[in-house]
């Protein structure tokens, strides 16, 4: 092999590429490295692009990887070549005419995966056969068909993907599927859940979003439980809404179904990161059993009619208020052509007087202004204090207990739907259509427990037993 390609030195930079060339080795060569520290024997692995350029990575026969610094290496002699190539064992997904049909859309996050044990690279499992190979329980739940729509990370999901996803969900419903599952990265899952709640209306079947907080290549992963419960909810569940299906507690117990407009990711890494805010979750789901917690959900229907309104105006932003905010921020947004601003205000929905003139100018230019809360829980109440009343007069519209992210998605959608009708947008914004605003907050819609107090200790000791 005289021709070398960049794959042969994958991830390596100078000075190592020259050194590897000088000794006639490439990635996947089996080598004995003679160094100032002693001899090491192993397989040359690709180098992570983000690591320094100074070390050669070897996999030892024990399975361990080590790095050897270039200036300690005296000689590399090649005695073999073993290229890693991993394929997921596919098993045909068993079809059972007695079971519901479920469509699983992939957006890019890994739902199930297998690990390339040499490089650590995660190879996503997605086809029904691959999924069956890794989560065989799915075959006991439904007949699963999959479609990969795009391959983007959660943080790169955007309008382009939302529109396609909404249309494809509509198609799947009209094609007669009994439920839809959307695999999604968790970081922006609640954003997508919110926008789908507006774009896909009156669905006759469940639309269930699912992901994992611990990747599925780990024995402790939450992925399989999430996927099984999501598939079960889509196939058999009675709730025909856009929902997020993720861990309830951090223990492997049950999943919660959260309404798409009321759910939020609340912890960077906990399994039980998704919470319903200002209300209680729709249901608990566990091993083929779904227990509704709320009664006012939209029930599953036999027809396959659905309204898809896939529109999105990208000129909308969230303005997170902070003390001493200056008016020029808002002026700049208006100047840049933003057509809608969701303010996340303090307390009951307040901003300081300094920005009043800018808000007034924005409203005069036809920019839609809405008030939500950075407290996340509670209602915007602009009549209580004078500040609030003043802000109302500037043309800022309160959005009750709509979450800022849900409000952002709703305004983007509404402006897309009625680009030339500000009043229609305003009406739409202030009319709840998917539970994004609720008339009342139940007493247990706000529960952020404090650790350390005796009753919490009792509770935490009993959560699973």
């Amino acid at each position: 092999m005289n021709m070398t390609t960049s794959e042969d030195f994958k991830g390596y930079r100078e000075p190592l590429i020259s050194m590897m060339k000088a000794f006639g080795i490439t990635v996947w060569s089996e080598v004995v490295a003679r160094t100032t520290q002693g001899e090491f024997e192993g397989l040359v692995l690709p180098r992570s692009e983000t690591a320094d350029p100074l070390h050669l990575v070897l996999k030892l026969s024990s399975g361990y990887n080590i790095g050897l610094r270039h200036d300690t290496i005296e000689e590399l002699s090649k005695f073999g070549y073993r290229k890693a190539s991993y394929k997921i064992p596919e098993k045909e997904f068993p079809k059972d005419p007695g079971k519901p049909r479920v469509k699983l859309f992939g957006t890019g996050g890994t739902i199930a995966s297998r690990l390339d044990y040499r490089t650590g690279a995660v190879i996503p499992a997605f086809s029904p056969g691959e999924l069956y190979g890794s989560v065989p329980e799915l075959a006991e739940v439904c007949n699963l068909e999959t479609e990969k729509l795009f391959g983007v990370f959660s943080e790169n999901m955007g309008p382009e993907q939302y529109l396609i996803l909404a249309e494809e969900i509509g198609k799947a419903i009209r094609d007669g599927y009994d439920g839809v599952v959307v695999g999604h990265g968790t970081d922006t899952m609640h954003h997508t859940a919110a926008v789908l709640s507006f774009m896909v209306q009156d669905s006759p079947v469940p639309i269930v979003m699912v992901g994992s907080q611990r990747s599925s290549d780990r024995p402790s992963s939450d992925a399989a439980q999430n996927l099984i419960n999501a598939a079960w909810t889509a196939a058999h569940g009675p709730i025909a809404e856009v929902m997020v299906c993720m861990f309830g507690p951090t223990s492997d117990r049950y999943n919660l179904l959260h309404r798409g407009t009321r759910v939020r990711k609340m912890h960077s890494s906990y399994r039980s990161t998704f919470r319903t805010l200002g209300d209680i979750p729709l249901a608990m789901v566990e091993q083929g059993k779904l227990t509704p917690l709320k009664e006012d959900f939209k029930p599953r229907r036999e027809d396959r009619e659905v309204t898809i309104q896939a529109c999105f105006d990208e000129r909308v932003t969230i303005l997170y208020y902070y003390p001493n905010m200056q008016a020029d921020i808002i002026d700049a947004l208006v100047e840049k052509g933003y057509r809608g601003i969701i303010i996340a205000g303090t307390g009951l929905g307040h901003v300081n007087r300094t920005v009043y003139p800018a808000l007034e100018r924005a409203a005069a230019q036809g920019v839609q202004l809405y008030m939500t809360l950075q407290t996340l829980w509670g209602f915007v109440q602009m009549y209580v204090y004078e500040t609030g009343r003043e802000i109302l007069e500037l043309g800022v519209v309160p959005l009750a207990n709509m979450l800022p992210e849900a409000a952002f998605m709703k305004l983007s959608w509404a402006l897309g739907l009625h680009p030339d009708d500000p009043q229609a947008v305003r009406t739409l914004m202030t009319t709840p259509i998917a539970g994004e605003m609720t008339p009342r907050e139940p007493h247990d819609g706000y529960l952020v427990f404090q650790g350390g107090i005796p009753e919490m200790k009792d509770f935490l000791g009993k959560t699973w037993s």
């Binding site: 520290q37 690591a51 320094d52 070390h55 026969s61 780990r218 402790s220 951090t250 492997d252 350390g452």
Partner: protein, 695 residues
């Protein structure tokens, strides 16, 4: 003599799971431990290696900032998890078993907020690796003279038993390949023990209980940094395993920056014989137990290989035990294969209490046919343990059967079931005279798993030694612990960046490297101390203290004086520790004056031990005063004279006239005040004369 030519010369490419020799001496006589010579073990192809896990003395844990070494004292919360085998490591091993393991085991962690954070319960990704631990590990590697890598790569080593909530242990290779001088080998003082590798890893949870389908862990220990030191299988006799264990324990402690006490150092031993494969015995606490343990394991392997040979002679093949479509683990085996039957009808009138009870509780009772296994189940594999128990141990772990007993078999027909019932079972299972039957009971799911596992283990009899880890019992026998994970269980940790080892760290560590026990031994022997005492001293925790307190007076003390100091420390320190419940060493300046006084001839050598003992229990000032009292300038003879006079006067009050008793009394009167300043023999003869004793 020793089969060195049969051992691989360099580290083999793949982990050496199989013994390099295939010539199992099947006819080798059965002998107890102590009855075999090194040559006998050579015939057996006995090989053993050790893995020592030593916790490091750091402030925090390895991947989070929780305190290391703090014990849980309360339960603030409990978390429940399951482990799910990920895909590719299933390949070579019994995937079904791992699947069952997952399906049936609930894993509970008890959290004490003072000892764990969200990292331990796998709800937060790892923080950067603790540099204090990395530097101690490097120091240990420098002392053991193994070859350092230049960049640490954190790997994940999979464990599905729940002992680590992530399902894997984070571990990094620090160094490979080195040699320790193995002077205590029974094969000669020129032996060496090769170290294969040293890795730095996080400790796992402590198991609290394992009952049925629930295993409970205490994660306070989880995440404490430890070094794992692995040797090559260079230990060729059971006594060498013990000696090697001691050597390795010293080696990994040589930095002094390690944790001591229960659980801080744990060792695993692996054993194989010709034709066998490496079996790992976990958590052997005491070096003294090692020889018996590995001897029994060697014979267990021999017996399993005898069973294999016998089964092969009978024409039994692994295919006979296969269940068609075994992947469908939810279909009960009694539906899938004629090898298993639902035996509830046949046993419905059984008087055997465990079976009757199972039936009353509506449990499943099934029977498994093992083709060609007649009398094999009763074959002895360990002292007092039959092959049936080998199967039973594994079934209990994997199927989580709770009742005791949960299985009987046809090799003991006169027990449990009536002969007529066995006949009915034989008929229903269509056995012939060479088959054995195993009857199992438990919940329907568990009994199904158990039946599958019995067949799987029976099939593995034809492999010989299954790849498994075993736990040791106090009597030297072992029991199944878990199936050995596959070689692919190691993969890179994508949550942590590689860590280059800086030259400056190494230079700094090298500049203050403590002396190794073997170097110290050489140095002390050069002083003229005897071999055995030197070895003990060099390996002792007070070796450095010894060096410090004799430093100034080595010449004056001479060999005899040095021996006395060494012996005094060896006697008084452990005694004091036991009484005081500590393991703290006194400051050298406390003991140095005592040693100096002896070196100058001011303190009689007999006074050394009492003075050291006093110093250990009192303040420095009190000790100084005590020593001054022992070194009175007044001629000792004069004081002795007055004490003898006093004793003679007090003699009238003594009740006995028996000469020896009187002498003992007299010594008690005189000696305490003179201790350390005079030879007791002198006192004795003077007392005899003074008191006019007939001795």
């Amino acid at each position: 003599m020793n089969n060195h030519e049969n051992q691989p010369l360099a580290a083999p490419r793949a982990p050496a799971d199989h013994n390099p020799r295939l010539d199992t001496p099947l006819d080798f006589p059965d002998r107890d431990f102590g009855e075999l010579t090194p040559d006998d073990y050579d015939v057996l192809g006995f090989m053993s290696g050790l893995e020592v896990h030593q916790q490091l003395l750091t402030t925090s844990k390895l991947f989070c900032r929780c305190p290391a070494g703090q014990k849980a004292s309360r339960v603030d919360a409990e978390v429940l998890r399951h482990m799910r085998p990920t895909l590719s490591e299933l390949g070579e091993y019994d995937g079904t078993a791992l699947m069952e393991f997952k399906t049936h085991k609930e894993i509970v962690y008890r959290l004490d907020r003072n000892t764990v954070c969200t990292y331990e319960i796998d709800d937060t990704p790892p923080f950067l690796i603790d540099l204090e631990a990395v530097k101690i590990a490097i120091e240990a590697c420098r002392l053991m003279n193994v070859k350092l890598v230049s960049e640490l790569h954190v790997m994940r080593k999979q464990y599905l038993d729940g002992s680590i909530p992530t399902g894997f242990q984070r571990t990094a290779m620090v160094a490979v390949k080195g040699e320790l001088p193995f002077r205590t080998s029974e094969l000669g003082a020129d032996q060496t023990l090769r170290v294969r590798q040293v890795s730095l890893e996080e400790d796992s949870c402590r198991e609290v209980s394992d009952i049925g389908h629930r295993i409970t862990y205490q994660p306070d220990r989880l995440g404490i940094p430890l070094i794992e030191t692995v040797t090559e299988p260079d230990l060729l006799t059971p006594l060498d395993v013990q000696a090697g264990g001691r050597l390795l324990a010293q080696a990994v402690r040589a930095t002094g920056k390690v944790r001591r006490g229960a659980g801080a150092a744990r060792q695993d031993v692996n054993v194989s014989i010709a034709g066998g494969r490496r079996v790992e015995i976990k958590g052997v606490g005491n070096h003294r137990r090692l020889p018996q343990l590995v001897h029994i394991e060697a014979y267990r392997q021999l017996n399993l290989l005898r069973i294999k040979a016998e089964l092969e002679r009978r024409g039994v093949t692994p295919e006979l035990f296969e269940i068609p479509d075994a992947g469908r683990h939810r279909t009960p085996p009694w539906v899938q294969t004629p090898l298993v039957i639902d035996a509830r009808r046949i046993l419905r009138r059984s008087n055997y209490p465990p079976v009757r009870e199972a039936l009353e509780q509506k449990q499943m009772v099934c029977a498994v046919r093992l083709p060609g296994f007649r009398h094999i189940l009763a074959h002895r594999t360990q002292p007092g343990i039959t092959f049936a128990r080998e199967i039973r141990g594994r079934v209990r772990v994997i199927a989580c059967l709770e009742s005791r007993p949960f299985m009987i078999h046809s090799d003991v027909e006169d027990y449990g079931l009536a002969a007529s019932v066995w006949r009915q079972l034989r008929a229903a299972l269509r056995t012939d005279s060479s088959d054995a039957i195993v009857v199992l009971w438990g919940s329907e799911v568990d009994a199904g798993t158990a039946a599958r596992e019995v067949l799987a283990r029976a099939a593995e009899s034809l492999i010989g030694i299954p790849a498994e880890t075993r736990q040791s019992y106090p009597d030297g026998t072992t029991g199944f612990e878990r199936i050995l994970p596959g070689p692919d269980r190691m993969y890179p940790d994508t949550d942590t960046p590689p860590l280059p080892i800086e030259d400056q760290w190494i230079a700094e560590i090298d500049s203050r490297l403590p002396e190794t026990p073997w170097a110290r031994e050489d140095r002390l022997q050069a002083l003229g101390l005897d071999v055995v005492a030197t070895r003990r001293l060099a390996a002792s925790p007070w070796a450095t203290l010894f060096d410090e307190i004799v430093a100034e007076d080595r010449e004056a003390l001479g060999v005899a004086g040095l021996q006395r100091v060494a012996a005094a420390l060896e006697k008084r320190l452990p005694y004091f520790w036991r009484q005081a419940g500590t393991r703290s060493l006194p400051a050298p300046r406390v003991l140095t004056p005592i040693v100096q006084a002896m070196a100058r001839g001011e303190l009689h050598p007999d006074g050394l031990e009492p003075a050291i003992d006093f110093a250990l229990r009192h303040t420095e000032a009190e000790s100084t005063e005590y020593l001054a009292g022992r070194l009175k300038s007044e001629p000792v003879e004069k004081e002795l004279e007055s004490l003898l006079q006093l004793a003679a006067e007090n003699l009238v009050g003594v009740h006995t006239r028996e000469a020896q008793a009187v002498l003992r009394w007299g010594m008690g009167q005189v000696m305490p005040a003179l201790s350390g300043r005079i030879d007791p023999c002198d006192v004795r003869s003077k007392l005899i004369f003074k008191l006019g004793l007939a001795i």
